[in-house]
C-alpha cells in the first residue's frame, strides 16, 4: 500500500490553485484541439508544448496531460455529432454513435462516450498506480544490456507486428534512427553526419520533427478533403446523464472487457486504434443480437470508447516506468520530460517522486474534472466547427511555428518543421507509417548509448545480450517478434492457423 500513500502525497502536490487553473486551461485547450478538424492528441500536445517551457516540470506535465485527456474527450464529440472521426481510433465510435445522433439520441450517445472514456482511463490509471512503481523498481536493476534489449524489443515488435508493409516500417524506423544520430556523438564526442553545417551540430530536435510531421502535414491533408459538414447540435441535460448512468451496471461485462483489451494493447505497442476496433468487434460478437450493432446501439459506443481511452492512458505506463513510450502522444510527452531536464525511466520514481505522483494524481483529477467539463460544455465546443477552416488553418500554422522556434530559439528549426511537414504529407499518402519514425527519433540515441555502454562493459563481446536469463529472454523475444510474420507463416503451414483465424474473426 506504499503506492496509496504516495498517491495521496501526489494529490497534495496537485491541490494548489495554480495547478487547478492550469488543469482547466489544459482541458479546455485539449477539447478545442480534439474538436477542430486536422488536429488531434499528438499534434495538440506538440504544438502547445512550448507554453510549458517556463513552468516547473510538475505544472507543465499536469497541463500537458490535461491537454491529452481533453483531446481524447473532444474526439468523441465530432464522431457522434458529425460522423467525423477526429482520430483514427474514434472511427469505431461513429458506427453506433452517429446513428444514435440521427435518431435524436445524441445526448445519450455523448454521455455514454464520455462516461466510458472516463471508466477506461480510470482502469488504466489504477493499473499505472500499482504496476508502474513495481516495474520501475524492478527495472532499477537493469544495466545497459537490459535496457538495450528492451529498446530492441520495442523496435522489433513494431516491425514484426505492424500492419503496414514491412519494408515501409523498416524505412521509417531506420530513417528515424539515422536522423537521431545526427550531431554530436554522446559516447565519443565525435561529430557525425553534420557535413560541416553548424545548424546540424545540435542535431535534429525530436519535437520540431513531430510538429512538422503531425501539425503541418495534417493541415495539408485536411485541405484535400471536402470540408463541408452537417451534424446535430446537442445539449446534455442532467436527466439524460442520470438515465445513462443508471443503466451502466447492465454493461459491466462490455466495459470490463474493453478496459482490459485497451490496457493490454496500450502497454504493448498495439495502440488505441487496434484497441477500439477490437473492443467494438468483441462486444458485437458476444452480443445476443449482433445485427443490431451499427444501428445506434449504446454498447457500440461504450465498447470502443472504453478501449481507446484505456489504451491511450496505459500507453503512459511504459513511458514512466521504463522510458519507452507506448504511443505517439506518450513519445511527445517523453520529449517534454527531456526538455525540462528529467530523465525518463525507472530512476524517475526515485529521484522525482513529487513529479511522478503529481502526474499520476493529475490523471485521476483530470479525468473527473474533464468528464464534468465536457458534459456541461458540449454545445459550445460543437459550435467551434462553425468557425471556417480558412481562419483556423493559418492559426495552426502560426502555432506550429511558435512551437518549433521556442524549443531551441532557432530559425533553422522553423524551416526544418516545414520540411518535415512535406515529408509527413508524402509519407502518409504513400503509406509509410509515422509512428515508428517518431519512436526511433526519440529513442535512437538512448538505444545506441545503451548498446555502446554494454559493449564497453563487455569488451566488445555480443554474448553480453545473452549473459543472464532476463536479458537473454528479452533479446530472444525481440528477435522472434522481428521475424514473427515468417514464423507465423511457417506455423500456418503446419496447420496451426485454424485456431488463429477464428480468434480474429
Amino acid at each position: 500500500m506504499e503506492a496509496f500513500g504516495l498517491l495521496l502525497h501526489g494529490f497534495a502536490v496537485l491541490l494548489t490553485w495554480k495547478t487547478l487553473v492550469l488543469m482547466m486551461v489544459g482541458l479546455v485547450l485539449g477539447i478545442f484541439v480534439g474538436v477542430l478538424p486536422g488536429l488531434g492528441g499528438p499534434n495538440g500536445v506538440a504544438i502547445l508544448l512550448p507554453l510549458t517551457f517556463t513552468m516547473d516540470p510538475t505544472s507543465a506535465i499536469v497541463m500537458l496531460s490535461c491537454i491529452y485527456w481533453g483531446a481524447l474527450f473532444g474526439g468523441a464529440i465530432t464522431s457522434i455529432l458529425f460522423n467525423i472521426p477526429g482520430e483514427a481510433w474514434s472511427v469505431a465510435t461513429t458506427f453506433d454513435g452517429y446513428p444514435m445522433a440521427q435518431q435524436g439520441r445524441a445526448a445519450e450517445a455523448l454521455t455514454a462516450a464520455f462516461t466510458s472514456s472516463f471508466i477506461g482511463s480510470l482502469v488504466a490509471v489504477l493499473l499505472i498506480t500499482f504496476l508502474a512503481p513495481m516495474i520501475s523498481s524492478f527495472a532499477l536493476k537493469f544495466g545497459p544490456p537490459e535496457f538495450f534489449a528492451v529498446y530492441l524489443l520495442t523496435f522489433c515488435s513494431f516491425v514484426g507486428l505492424g500492419r503496414e508493409a514491412k519494408h515501409k516500417t523498416v524505412i521509417s524506423m531506420s530513417l528515424g534512427l539515422l536522423l537521431a544520430g545526427i550531431g554530436m556523438d554522446t559516447v565519443s564526442g565525435n561529430l557525425r553526419m553534420t557535413f560541416g553545417s553548424p545548424e546540424l551540430l545540435r542535431g535534429i530536435n525530436f519535437l520540431v520533427a513531430v510538429i512538422g510531421l503531425f501539425g503541418i502535414s495534417e493541415i495539408l491533408l485536411t485541405m484535400e478533403e471536402r470540408l463541408a459538414l452537417r451534424g446535430h447540435a446537442a445539449g446534455i441535460s442532467l436527466r439524460v446523464v442520470l438515465s445513462v448512468w443508471k443503466d451502466l451496471p447492465k454493461y459491466w461485462v462490455t466495459l470490463l472487457r474493453s478496459s482490459f483489451i485497451g490496457c493490454w494493447l496500450g502497454i504493448t505497442p498495439g495502440g488505441a486504434i487496434a484497441a477500439s476496433f477490437m473492443g467494438y468487434n468483441l462486444a458485437k460478437r458476444f452480443a445476443k443480437e449482433p445485427e443490431s450493432f451499427g444501428k445506434g446501439r449504446i454498447e457500440g459506443v461504450f465498447a470502443p470508447e472504453t478501449a481507446a481511452h484505456a489504451s491511450g492512458t496505459s500507453a503512459l505506463l511504459p513511458m514512466l516506468a521504463l522510458g519507452i513510450p507506448g504511443s505517439g502522444t506518450a513519445a511527445i510527452l517523453l520529449g517534454g520530460l527531456m526538455v525540462w531536464g528529467l530523465n525518463p525511466g525507472p530512476l524517475l520514481f526515485v529521484e522525482h517522486k513529487d513529479f511522478v505522483w503529481g502526474l499520476i494524481a493529475s490523471m485521476y483529477l483530470g479525468n473527473v474534472v474533464g468528464l464534468v467539463l465536457v458534459l456541461t460544455t458540449v454545445p459550445i465546443f460543437a459550435s467551434i466547427l462553425r468557425v471556417p477552416f480558412a481562419a483556423v488553418a493559418p492559426m495552426i500554422v502560426v502555432s506550429c511555428a511558435i512551437g518549433a522556434y521556442a524549443i531551441q530559439n532557432a530559425m533553422f528549426d522553423i524551416w526544418l518543421m516545414l520540411g518535415f511537414g512535406i515529408v509527413g504529407y508524402v509519407f502518409k499518402k504513400i503509406g509509410i507509417p509515422l509512428a515508428p519514425f517518431t519512436l526511433a527519433l526519440v529513442l535512437g540515441n538512448r538505444a545506441e548509448d545503451a548498446f555502446r555502454l554494454s559493449m564497453i562493459g563487455a569488451g566488445g563481446d555480443l554474448k553480453v545480450f545473452w549473459s543472464n536469463g532476463l536479458v537473454g529472454s528479452i533479446t530472444t523475444l525481440a528477435i522472434v517478434l522481428l521475424f514473427w510474420p515468417v514464423i507465423d507463416g511457417l506455423l500456418g503451414r503446419v496447420g496451426w492457423r485454424q485456431q488463429d483465424k477464428t480468434a480474429t474473426q
Binding site: 512550448p50 507554453l51 517556463t54 455529432l81 435524436g104 439520441r105 445524441a106 445526448a107 445519450e108 508493409a165 519494408h167 523498416v170 524505412i171 531506420s174 530513417l175 539515422l178 544520430g181 559516447v187 565519443s188 565525435n190 557525425r192 553526419m193 503541418i216 485541405m223 484535400e224 471536402r226 470540408l227 463541408a228 459538414l229 452537417r230 446535430h232 447540435a233 445539449g235 446534455i236 436527466r239 466547427l385 471556417p388 477552416f389 480558412a390 481562419a391 493559418p394 492559426m395 500554422v397 502560426v398 511555428a401 511558435i402 521556442a406 530559439n409 530559425m411 511537414g421 504529407y425 508524402v426 499518402k429 504513400i430 509509410i432 548498446f451 555502446r452 559493449m455 564497453i456 566488445g460
Partner: protein, 180 residues
C-alpha cells in the same frame, strides 16, 4: 432532451471536385521517394564510413551504428523501389488530383512565404500577414473580419508568449521601432 432540430451546417464551396484528373500516381511518387531515400542513405552511409564504422577494442566506433542503419535504409528503399516499379504496371492509384493539389498548394505556398517572412519581419508581423491574407484570399472572408481576427490572434500570442511566459520569438523591424 437533445435538440436535434438545431443543426450545424458548414459548407465548403471550394471543395475539390471528385472527378478531377490525376496529377501523379502513387506508384510514381513512391518511386521518387525511394530514389531520394536511396540517395540519402548513400550520402549518410559514406559520411559514416569516413568517420569510422569499424569495430575497435571497446566496441563500435561512432560511425558504426549509423553506417549499418544507412545500409538498412538503403535496402528498404531498394525493395520499395522495385515494389513500386512492379506495382506501376498493375494498378494506377491516384496520389493527388489536380483539384486537391490546388488546395494543398493554397496552404503550402502561404506557409512557405510565412516562414520566409518570419526570417525578415519577425514572427508576429508574419503571422498577422498570414492570417489576414489567408482568410481574405483563400477563405473569401470579409476584409475587416480577416484583419480583426489576425490582429486579435497575433496580440494574444504576443501577450501569452513574449509577455506572460517569457518565450521570446524572432522579432523584426516593427518590434525594433516599437522598442521591444
Amino acid at each position: 432532451m437533445s435538440q436535434t432540430e438545431l443543426e450545424i451546417v458548414v459548407d465548403d464551396p471550394t471543395a475539390p471536385e471528385d472527378d478531377s484528373p490525376s496529377v501523379v500516381s502513387s506508384a510514381t511518387v513512391e518511386t521518387v521517394v525511394c530514389l531520394l531515400l536511396l540517395a540519402l542513405a548513400a550520402t549518410l552511409g559514406y559520411d559514416n564510413w569516413r568517420t569510422g564504422a569499424s569495430w575497435d577494442a571497446t566496441g563500435p566506433e561512432p560511425g558504426y551504428f549509423p553506417f549499418y542503419l544507412a545500409i538498412i535504409l538503403g535496402g528498404g528503399s531498394l525493395y520499395g523501389l522495385i515494389a513500386a516499379l512492379l506495382a506501376r504496371r498493375a494498378v494506377r492509384e491516384t496520389f493527388v488530383t489536380r483539384a486537391q493539389a490546388r488546395r494543398v498548394m493554397a496552404v503550402f505556398v502561404p506557409t512557405l512565404l510565412f516562414c520566409a517572412a518570419t526570417q525578415f519581419l519577425g514572427l508576429y508581423v508574419a503571422s498577422f500577414l498570414l492570417i489576414a491574407g489567408f482568410m481574405r484570399v483563400v477563405g473569401k472572408i470579409a476584409l475587416w473580419k480577416s484583419l480583426l481576427t489576425a490582429f486579435v490572434f497575433t496580440a494574444i500570442m504576443f501577450v501569452t508568449f513574449d509577455v506572460a511566459f517569457d518565450v521570446i520569438m524572432p522579432k523584426g523591424p516593427l518590434e525594433a521601432a516599437l522598442g521591444r
